[in-house]
Amino acid sequence: MVLVASLVVATDLFGTRGALFGSATPEPRDAAFSRIDSAPATQTEQTVLISQPWWQTVRRFRGVGTQETPAFGIGDEAIQWRVTWNCERGRFLVRASGRAEPLIDSSCAGETTTELSGTVEGGLQIEADGPWSAQVEQQVDVPLVEPPLPVMTAPDTSEVASGDFYRMDQVGQGRMTIYRLPDDRYALRLSDFYVTPNVDLEIRLSPLREPETTRDYLSAPAKLAAPLPTTTGSMNFALPEDVDLSRYRSVVIWCPIIDSAYAAATLERDQ
């Protein structure tokens, strides 16, 4: 019996091995197509890849005094959700239908974030003494697959550099492209990108051509290009206004928490 059972599990007949010992690959899910959940989906894509959990904006509300917000939904895939709120005076009370206790009951004290769990249906009933604002976000770990920005295909925009990611301390793959926009600023696009997930990763510009190790990377000063909250998918970033691209020869995914260069792509200049 033990041998026959081993045969069944070893051959993964009827998915027995996955059922008994788990799977490294989740069921295919819909990728996100925008950093804002309410944006209309322009495409659909199923994926089994996982991103570092990131915060996707669900809705932004503004009001004065007591009001009920329009209805919104927290997705089934959300790990948790949060409300970042601000009010000028008095107390700020937030209730949701179906919940006996208020979600938030606090004094106004500048911008405050309250993390929440569970689902919410309908809108929020907000009680305040004056003007207020609230941003609802959900935390998801699906890849973010943004379409290219319209300005990236504008006639006066040019593609100035591109390159493929290679692994350094961690797995990194995909392609990056840098565009010079009509206003002389630069935008960076990551396509089919994946880097080993971790929190607080950063995209940095390095003057080194092909850094191979963290030690290589640290041997020359690098510039922060943008934070990288989402580690899987296709994404667009605006580079800082003061970037002089001629000084840099590679893009590096940097983890400041453990001082580790995860992956890099060498800038191949387009003629």
């Binding site: 599990v9 051959t11 490294a24 890849l49 580690t231």
Partner: protein, 365 residues
């Protein structure tokens, strides 16, 4: 003395080839722990060896009333810890017990199969091979994996390991008269892998970006220290290999052909490594057939001795008579599990994502 009872102690002979093999594997383990970045801890190694030694010593004491040096069991434990890895174990974390249950499980399976599956009164399978295969196929790639085929760039560390393997191979294989068997495996296997490389086969591995194909496919498989360790130190177990010089050549060549056939379908390094290990499981099961065929070939058809009543009965008759015994049925099921389980890895989506490093923290191979 144990109470009033006197227990003889049997120490190992200096000429025992198992001691030579242990010296080689320990030397490689030391290199693995120091310069080769093996993702296995000293604690995992010691516990695996300890479990095997404890079981074997206890069984010998109970059966024979002697306290014998557990040479085979020590080798089994050492070999398991040399090849098996638990996902998430970091190199240099010397006292990590991460995934220790899988090492213990492999040790238990090795010895249970060795002690219980004994058609004809002898164990049929290489113990460490069967334990490693069982854990890799049943527990699966989410939790365990075999030591990488690639041990690192061709620097001093890898060269030192290769020197240890080659010198150790000559030392051990000459002692057990298996140099011919090793060549009988390596020549057809490397030729077949060369054909696969030329026809566009490729595989993915966690340690390399992108698919490995072309000449690199051949190099990464055929020059792997892991392959040499398998051929020289696992296939060469005299207790489970074929016994006569000619049958050992057939045994080596047959294992090569089975290994290559199983490798052909594998798109991942995990699958390739399991395919190589599984080939030995199958050929160990077939050793009586290999030996019978060898005898027949050596006698030649129509030989007068074939009709002699003093000779064993014809091959078909002997296989038929033994086939329904529980131990023989167990041998068939184990061999089938290894081969079918390995073939099923070719379509394992988990494995593909793991080997491409896309599962992130879920599996840290």
């Amino acid at each position: 003395m144990l109470g009033r009872r006197s227990i003889p102690v049997v120490l190992p002979s200096r000429r025992d080839p198992r001691l030579k093999l242990s010296v080689v594997i320990i030397a490689l383990q030391v290199l693995g722990q120091t310069v080769l970045d093996f993702k296995v801890s000293i604690a995992q190694i010691l516990i695996t060896i300890g479990v095997c030694a404890l079981i074997d010593t206890s069984l010998t004491l109970k059966r024979q009333g002697v306290l014998a040096w557990p040479a085979s069991a020590l080798l089994t434990g050492n070999s398991i810890a040399f090849i098996l890895r638990a996902s998430g174990t970091d190199h240099g974390d010397w006292w990590s017990l991460n995934g220790i249950e899988y090492f213990v499980l492999a040790a238990l399976v090795s010895l249970v199969v060795k002690e219980l599956v004994r058609p004809g009164g002898h164990h049929r399978f290489n113990p460490s091979n069967i334990g490693i295969i069982w854990v890799l196929l049943v527990i699966g790639p989410v939790h365990v994996f075999p030591q990488y085929l690639w041990w690192g760039p061709a620097g001093p560390a890898v060269i030192a390991a290769l020197v240890v393997i080659v010198l150790g191979a000559v030392w051990v294989l000459r002692a057990v008269r298996m140099l011919g068997m090793a060549l009988a495996f390596l020549v057809p296997f490397t030729a077949l892998i060369g054909v696969f490389a030329a026809t566009g086969q490729s595989f993915v591995a966690i340690w390399q970006e992108g698919p490995i194909s072309g000449f690199d496919y051949w190099v990464k498989i055929c020059t792997s220290p892991e392959l040499l360790v398998f051929v020289c130190f696992m296939m060469s177990d005299p207790a489970t290999a074929a016994r006569t010089p000619v049958s050992r050549i057939i045994y080596g060549a047959a294992t090569a052909v089975v290994a290559a056939a199983l490798v052909f379908f594998q798109p991942t390094e995990f699958g390739i490594k399991v395919a190589i290990l599984s080939s030995l499981t199958l050929t160990c099961a077939l050793v009586p057939v290999i030996e019978a065929v060898t005898r027949r070939l050596q006698r030649g058809p129509g030989s007068p001795s074939e009709a002699s009543p003093a000779q064993p009965p014809p091959l078909r008759g002997r296989l038929g008579a033994g086939a329904l015994r529980p131990a023989s049925i167990a041998v068939v099921i184990i061999a089938l599990t290894a081969v079918v389980g390995t073939a099923a890895l070719a379509d394992n989506k988990d494995l593909y994502y793991i080997e491409r490093g896309l599962t992130g923290p879920v599996n840290a191979q």
